[in-house]
Symmetry: C2
């Protein structure tokens, strides 16, 4: 029977800049009574990757440009935060009161360039914010290769973050970085069980794995930033999570 | 340790109009060596629900209206299929060559009102298409209550279908019907581990469960139309899958 198991790794300590996530994940797997095997996929919350890469910025160190001050007024946001959002972005997709939707320099369309205030540090340090990793695909590759080197297992890594959707309520988890995992499960030109040739089916498997992992990761004070997903096949692919970004010419609404 | 298991139920027979899915799912669980427990969630591919409800239409029985013929020309589609799409929809969201995006009468925004040609019947019956269930939330509730009555367990049911997204490549699984499951995991006004009050986090849990289940369901000739998801909490809620449809006034692009 086809079976997938998703484990929420407990006991991962507070991550600090410079921490070696591969080492921390390997230790956490052991502490949770598991052994890393071929085809294990680790889904890692973006926050701990960003922290380990020291992507923390103190807003007090940011001097907003005139453009940032203008956009801050339109959107009712902190101009220093707006300045960081613009620095992390290729372009603004949509502005409205309370909302800045951008295309990040990685090609991801999301609110606030994925910059987050929650789970950064203690509440007195409220001016600290956390940027996305500089390149989440490269971060994923680095962590994957380090775990593989230390364990000898052939594994996959997805770096994930939760964002809203265009036409659906609530947020879901997105694969924003990936290495060693299948990004798409492509059925196009394959036959269904009756011989009908499928025209469009191309499942964003890496995104579904991120969603599955979020069910154990949680968002508030659960302190489970890494999930182990077991039961899928890892795959060396030339694609990474950037392949999930739809190019603008294919957007339904522009 | 937090753990979720996802089982793909094998051996489910070809579903025919009038079949009792609750009975078929209970039998499949037994055949797969499992026993239904409290908090088990069944994710059921829309196709077998539609078939059991006899939502199969022969295009040869459909007479397209003038509007359908016009839209068929714009979109390069079969006017009889367009006629069915319009009958299943509240309104057209976007038309282009090869694409009809509508808001279905259930409030779901998707291509072709979710009408599908694949996996309907043998390839000689190529003119047969399958409509979405008349009300997938009611279908989910009916199946849930029937399984609960027969087993005594308190379970959840999600009816799912795969659709494309607005700004992301590939399709993922959506929860289009739900009963007895948590739709959202709402963190708004809760504190993170540092005491910071979360502003927007409201996770579309039912959608993530659908995505997780798709990893074992598959799309082509796998013949696994039902997944059992174990490890979450079921919840009687006043919400159902319709709560995932974002009202138009909140759409980013109109």
């Amino acid at each position: 029977m086809r079976k997938i198991e998703i484990y929420g790794l407990e006991g991962i300590p507070e991550i600090k800049p410079g921490d070696d996530l591969s080492e921390i994940i390997i230790e956490a797997v052991e502490k949770n009574g598991l052994t890393i095997k071929d085809d294990d996929i680790f889904v890692i919350a973006q926050k701990i990757v960003s922290k380990s890469e020291n992507r923390i910025v103190d807003l007090n160190d940011v001097i907003p440009s005139e453009e940032s001050i203008k956009i801050a007024k339109i959107t009712d946001k902190d101009p220093r935060l707006v300045e960081l959002i613009l620095r992390e972005s290729k372009r603004i997709v949509k502005l409205s009161k309370g909302h800045i939707i951008v295309e990040t320099k990685h090609g991801l369309v999301c609110a606030n360039a994925g910059i987050d205030k929650s789970n950064v540090g203690n509440v007195e340090e409220i001016d600290k914010v956390l940027l996305l990793p500089d390149d989440p695909d490269i971060s994923a590759k680095r962590i994957k290769e380090a775990i593989e080197k230390k364990t000898g297992a052939r594994i996959g890594v997805i770096i994930s973050d939760t964002y809203g959707r265009m036409l659906r309520e609530g947020q879901i988890n997105y694969a924003i970085g990936a290495s060693g995992v299948r990004i798409f499960r492509d059925y196009r030109n394959k036959k269904d069980r009756y011989g009908y040739v499928l025209q469009v089916k191309n499942i964003a498997e890496a995104e579904e794995v991120a969603c599955a992992a979020e069910l154990v990761i949680g968002q508030a004070d659960e302190s489970i930033p890494v999930a182990l997903v077991r039961g899928l096949k890892c795959e060396e692919t030339t694609l990474n999570a950037k392949a999930l970004n739809m190019p603008e010419e294919k957007w339904l609404f522009k």
